[in-house]
């Protein structure tokens, strides 16, 4: 490369826009301003406050018995709920894509409800259902199972919250599956189960993984749907978001920041995982 051309290349590494539509500067200004004011600066403040804390204090905030119990509950319940959603969400997606039955349209609309219904409304409704006197709760308590005010209740609420994520991520992939693949497998003599395990599942596994991590991430941070049914008993049914709120109300900023920082980290990792899975899926499709 000659000196002249390397100089040209260096110039190219500055903000080089492709696309000759007018309005680049204006839209960049609006986006940068709004993004900074609303998102970057607040997050920067949290990061700054968290890094300004002495490491010992940060550790104490996160490792106390109450915090550990909260993390265990949040992670455990979110993971369980995401797994349940992965299994049943897949079935729902399958049924919606492949079968015709009365009420299919209604089912399809209902899948989006957890997304559209305010979390507080979901929270009190779930409590009313699963409490000992509730419609479902009373039958279960006759069998000796208590749901509300236990970790099971927390998990139930998180299932509600994460439901649409799995269904809506898996649906398009199922829909795009070429029927000829399954027909070819059948003609070759494969049983339906074998076809499912060796043809369909591998094709939908990445989407299922993405849906799982999206549901998991959402469940981790969920507040409104859970605080009513959980009972919020420290060390037993206290989720991490509630612990943050409690510490804030007690002006224990360090405690709140510590936990929030850890949660943010976990969210970022999950976001990254989700993005990586999606990018891998895209690369697979392009290579095919």
């Amino acid at each position: 490369m000659t000196l002249a051309s390397s100089a040209r290349t260096r110039r190219r590494l500055t903000i080089r826009r492709r696309g000759m539509l007018p309005g680049f500067n204006l839209s960049l200004a609006i986006v940068t301003f709004y993004l900074s004011a609303l998102v970057l600066i607040p997050i920067a403040v949290l990061t700054w406050r968290a890094s300004a804390m002495p490491a010992a204090e940060l550790w104490a905030a996160v490792s106390g018995p109450r915090a550990r119990a909260a993390f265990a509950l949040s992670l455990g319940a979110a993971g369980t709920a995401a797994l349940v959603n992965a299994l049943f969400g897949f079935i729902v997606a399958w049924v919606l894509v492949r079968y015709e039955f009365p009420g299919r349209s209604l089912l399809d609309t209902l899948v989006d409800l957890p997304f559209a219904l305010p979390t507080a409304v979901a929270g009190i409704a779930l409590t009313a259902i699963w409490a000992e006197s509730g419609w479902v709760g009373r039958h279960l308590s006759a069998a000796g199972i208590q749901v509300a005010y236990t970790p099971i209740g927390v998990t139930v609420a998180l299932i509600f919250v994460g439901l649409p994520f799995v269904v809506r991520t898996v649906e398009p992939v199922l829909r795009e599956l070429d029927p000829v693949l399954e027909e070819a497998a059948a003609v070759l003599g494969a049983s339906r189960l074998r076809t499912f395990l060796q043809v369909i599942l591998p094709a939908t596994a990445p989407a299922l993984g993405t849906g799982f991590s999206l549901a998991f991430a959402r469940a981790l941070g969920e507040y409104g749907s859970v605080v009513f049914i959980s009972g919020n008993m420290p060390l037993r049914t206290e989720i991490v978001p509630l612990l943050i709120v409690t510490r804030l109300e007690q002006f224990d900023y360090a405690g709140a920041i510590g936990i929030a920082a850890v949660m943010l980290l976990v969210s970022f990792v999950l976001l990254l995982l989700g993005n990586l899975l999606q990018a891998q899926r895209r690369r697979r499709h392009e290579g095919a």
Partner: protein, 281 residues
């Protein structure tokens, strides 16, 4: 988020047996009924548990009215602002390529993956008395936390990207050819936006706006942290529901909840209609 579309037809040789199909359908229906339909029905049943009279009374209480007005006020500010941002962001991300574009897209997705409680915490750290701007704010007698502006900021954060995400994916799928054609025909940037881009986007714009609105009106976690729960002043509808429920005023809580549930249902309905119209074009 898609609507019901034509069913995928396999040759009979490749289909699973009828019994399996019925079982799977039954499982799916049961699952959705238990976890989604039942809570929805519950809201209305509990609200009307004592009959229509107490239901209407709960809705007409002055505190409910101020909660409604406050919720509407917040949405009326937050939704247009986020829509404006959404249009600018979609134009920027979908029509240009530049260094840092993927970082920008990740940043736009960020508030979506953050717990609403942490969102509230962020603004407490920024605007609170011991926060970054705390002393400056009290010196100028501006109150953000525990007042309406705080609610607006927290709600704006949480619903930040809802319009943008909707518009970005659609604009990327549609491609720039129509805008470029308009440019070669002599249109200015604003003419292109007004006559070509926005009309093309009208369905996704509507979807994004109603989703943003539903989330803005229904936001609980973030708003709970920054509001201070001052009855009649900083209680939005969701916070009002919480207060009534914690006071064991179940009919009242569920009555107010029906308003929010209706909002959710209307949102879903509009989304379905938009999807149907959109696919007809």
């Amino acid at each position: 988020m898609t609507g019901a579309s034509p069913v995928h037809r396999l040759a009979p040789i490749a289909r699973e047996p009828l019994a399996v199909r019925l079982l799977l359908t039954a499982v799916a229906v049961a699952f959705i009924s238990l976890f989604v339909l039942l809570p929805l029905i519950m809201v209305f049943t509990c609200a009307l548990a004592d009959g229509a009279g107490p239901y209407w009374a709960a809705l007409q209480s002055p505190e409910t009215w101020s909660a409604i007005k406050l919720t509407l006020r917040v949405a009326a500010v937050v939704v247009p602002l986020n829509t404006l941002f959404g249009i600018a962001a979609a134009w920027l991300v979908a029509r240009y390529d530049f260094v840092g574009r993927s970082v920008l897209v990740t940043l736009i997705d960020l508030p979506f993956s953050v717990s609403p409680v942490i969102a509230g915490l962020l603004f407490v750290l920024l605007f609170g008395k011991s926060g970054l701007l705390g002393s400056w704010l009290s010196a100028h007698q501006i109150q953000i936390l525990f007042a309406v502006p705080g609610l607006m900021v927290a709600t704006a954060f949480v619903t930040f990207a809802m319009v943008a995400r909707e518009l970005i994916s659609v604009m990327e799928a549609q491609g720039p050819s129509e805008e470029e054609a308009a440019l070669t025909l002599g249109a200015s940037g604003w003419q292109v936006l007004r006559h070509v881009t926005l009309p093309k986007l009208r369905w996704s714009l509507l979807t994004g706006v109603i989703l943003c609105n539903a989330r803005a009106m229904g936001e609980f976690g973030a708003v709970s942290v920054v509001s201070g729960h001052i009855r009649g002043m900083t209680n939005t509808l969701p916070l009002h529901v919480e207060i009534l429920f914690n006071e064991y005023n179940f009919v009242g809580a569920f009555a107010v909840a029906t308003l929010l549930a209706l909002l959710g249902l209307v949102t879903l309905l509009v989304k379905r209609l938009v999807h149907a119209s959109g696919s007809r074009e």
